[in-house]
């Protein structure tokens, strides 16, 4: 049973007791009133009746005296009439007295009154008062005594009534005090256990109502209010868990990385999120009411557009490439358009960087092809040139005339010229000079992976890295080695058309000469390389991608680059399982 319930029962019990006591008091007061009434009834009419009886007695005596003095017949008749009237009054007041006086129960006194009355009648009839004078005097004395008794009794009654009234007043005061204290106690109890917790609970409810769904009431008690608070907390919990509050949605929209613009049916901006303000450079106020066509300068903004390439016009005039999706607004009878635009600036930049890297690679391959070609030409041309050189010199030795010697000199000059042209061609076709710097292996690997990732070249390939954090830096031409890594990783991606896993690991190793170095291994889960192809992988112009994009020079160039750094490059492969390409490069100042 709960406290409030118990208390209510106690309160009811106390109220019942107080009620019963009050009832007793009322009964008592009623008794006092009755007695007071009785006292009043007796005192006034009883005493009046006795007084009238006494007055009537005295009048009758005077009437009898008058009758004795009257001798004339008419006067005698008048006195007799008066006497009858007074006797009638006497009886009348006697009747009244008997009706009202408690003292009428005094038989002796009653009989006296009766006897006096009868005596008055006899004597009135006889017309003589001689025999009744003594009786009458005794009667008046007994009347006086009766009146005295009545007065004394009235005094006693009055005193008793006064006491009772005083007690009733005192009890009433106590009752008032008790009831007052009870009222104060009840008020304090209600304030303490009902009103204040209810007030706090009400305030907590208003907070939750305003959207503070994580707010809970701290009202704790073991009564019904505690139950109510518990139920309210559970309700708030449910509300928080199951209902997506406005604030939550607002937070999501505010935190979105993409531009969100809501337009009305006329195509004017109605609301925007923080990303829109940040990316476009306008303030929120500047954006509101602006037509969508002024913000999206390229690409159609229409309901149903999904991941369409478009461009936003920023406040500073920049055109920001975006991926735009637009959907009609649904619900609550609103009409409009919800536009989400993904900022593609970084992606475009990365794509451009990858494209540039690819072009560099292609350029390197072209130069390498030219170098190979030039080297082939050089070998094939220089041998005949050497023969011509030797031949004309021999002819020169044998020449007898100046014309022949002149001819030999001219041929020799031409041989020298041809030789110079071929030297220049070879110089041109050689890779450019290296700019070596100290680079962390991790930087090389991550930079290359980023190029592939942001450039969108990885497709369904998952990349993992296992790079020893304590590796020494490498003394390399960063762009050339990244070119090599890019080439190797793209070969791996090409070997996994259906997706797969690309693992790049880097660890410390020793070069052949005992110099400290770093091995960077690129492993794929691709189709692998046939054993008969494996030996030819580094040969110039060997390619298995002839139908696609391969020149057959990527690995050849890569190997040349790695070897020009004093490093080595190896390929291990198992058909159907995958390929591992390992570059070993020297570390900075890593002399053993």
């Amino acid at each position: 049973m709960k406290l409030n319930h118990q208390f209510s029962l106690w309160l009811l019990f106390i109220a019942l007791c107080v009620g019963l006591v009050s009832l007793a008091w009322v009964q008592r007061a009623q008794a006092v009133k009755a007695r007071f009434d009785a006292f009043a009834n007796f005192t006034t009419p009883g005493l009046v009746a006795l007084g009238q009886l006494k007055a009537s007695s005295l009048q009758i005596r005077r009437d009898v005296d008058d009758l004795a003095a009257a001798v004339e017949a008419p006067a005698r008749e008048a006195v007799e009439a008066q006497l009858r009237h007074d006797l009638a009054r006497y009886h009348e007041w006697h009747t009244v007295y008997r009706g009202v006086a408690l003292d009428a129960q005094d038989r002796e006194f009653e009989r006296t009154i009766q006897r006096v009355g009868e005596a008055w009648e006899q004597h009135a009839a006889a017309g003589s008062l001689k025999d009744v004078r003594g009786l009458e005097q005794g009667f008046v004395k007994s009347l006086d005594r009766a009146i005295g008794r009545q007065l004394k009794e009235a005094q006693a009654q009055k005193a008793a009534l006064g006491r009772d009234a005083e007690r009733a007043v005192r009890l009433s005061v106590w009752a008032a005090v008790i009831l007052g204290l009870l009222a104060i106690g009840l008020g304090a109890f209600i304030a303490g256990t009902v009103a204040r917790p209810l007030g706090r609970l009400g305030a907590d409810m208003r907070r939750v109502g305003r959207g503070e769904l994580s707010h809970r009431t701290k009202v704790r008690s073991k009564d019904e209010i505690g139950d109510l608070a518990g139920a309210f907390n559970r309700m708030a919990e449910d509300l928080e868990q199951t209902t997506v509050s406005k604030r939550y949605v607002d937070q999501i929209i505010t935190s979105m990385a993409d531009i969100l613009i809501v337009a009305d049916e006329a195509g004017r901006v109605q609301s925007v999120n923080a990303a829109a303000v940040r990316i476009l450079g306008y303030s929120e106020q500047e954006l509101l009411g602006r037509p969508l066509s002024a913000l999206f300068v390229a690409g159609a903004v229409a309901p149903g557009v999904a991941n369409a390439e478009a461009a936003c016009q920023a406040k500073d005039g920049r055109s920001i490439p975006v991926l735009l999706s637009a959907a009609p607004m649904r619900g609550e009878g609103r009409q409009g358009l919800v536009c989400v635009a993904l900022d593609m600036t970084d992606r475009k930049r990365a794509e451009a960087a990858l494209e540039q890297a690819r072009q560099q690679l292609a350029q390197s391959e072209k130069l390498a092809a030219l170098g190979q070609f030039a080297a082939g030409v050089a070998h094939e041309v220089k041998n005949p040139l050497a023969i011509i050189q030797g031949g004309v010199e021999f002819l020169g030795l044998k020449a007898a005339d100046e014309d022949t010697r002149q001819t030999v000199r001219m041929i020799e000059e031409s041989v020298t010229r041809a030789d110079t042209i071929i030297r220049d061609l070879l110089k041109f076709a050689r890779p450019s000079a290296q700019k070596r710097e100290a680079v962390a292996p991790e930087e090389l690997v991550r930079g290359t992976i980023n190029l592939l990732t942001y450039g969108g070249a990885l497709k369904q390939v998952q990349v993992k890295t296992r790079i020893d954090a304590a590796l020494a830096r490498l003394e390399v031409d960063k762009s050339q080695i990244q070119q090599v890594l890019l080439n190797v990783m793209m070969n791996s991606v090409d070997a996994m058309p259906g997706g797969g896993s690309l693992t790049v690991s880097a660890g410390a190793t020793m070069l052949d000469g005992g110099r400290a170095g770093c091995a960077i291994a690129v492993a794929d889960t691709g189709e692998g390389i046939a054993p008969e192809h494996l030996a030819k992988m580094f040969e110039p112009f060997f390619t298995t991608k002839r139908d696609k994009k391969g020149t057959g020079l990527g690995l050849s160039v890569s190997k040349t680059i790695v070897e020009s750094h004093g490093g080595t490059m190896r390929i291990a492969s198992e058909p159907g399982k995958g390929t591992v390409v390992t570059l070993v490069l020297p570390a900075t100042g890593g002399q053993a």
Partner: protein, 130 residues
């Protein structure tokens, strides 16, 4: 014992070896033997024991560098100086700096003027043996 410098020239180009032999011998200071087959170069060198071997780098069969390594293995040829002849295919061979060496040996780029060739031969032969 001849006062002339004996030279073995190993090169698959017969016309080239023909003119080198003619030119060197025309100077009167050299005895020149010719070998046009790389495979027989070591055998010829061991038999002839020349003062110097002119060795072509790019030949079908055995490359010049390998022949140089093999020559090191025989007592009769291990200290024979070698001058490489090359039609320049590698980066360092494009250099005209005569200080450049291949595997510790001087080299001469084709086409070569005979005066230059003779100068290199004389220098190498005159230099202290390693």
């Amino acid at each position: 014992m001849s006062l002339k410098t004996s030279v073995l020239i190993v090169d698959d180009e017969t016309s080239f070896t023909f003119f080198v032999k003619k030119n060197l011998e025309a100077s009167g200071r050299y005895d020149v033997a010719v070998c046009n087959e790389a495979a027989k170069a070591v055998e010829r060198a061991r038999a002839l024991r020349p003062n110097l071997i002119l060795l072509d780098v790019m030949m079908p069969g055995t490359p010049g560098e390998e022949i140089a390594v093999q020559l090191k293995q025989y007592p009769e040829t291990k200290s024979t100086p070698i001058v490489f002849l090359t039609a320049l295919v590698k980066a360092e061979e494009t250099s005209t700096d005569p200080a450049h060496e291949i595997g510790g040996h001087k080299f001469v780029a084709k086409p070569v003027k005979m005066q230059e060739l003779m100068k290199v031969i004389d220098e190498v032969v005159a230099s202290p043996r390693k």
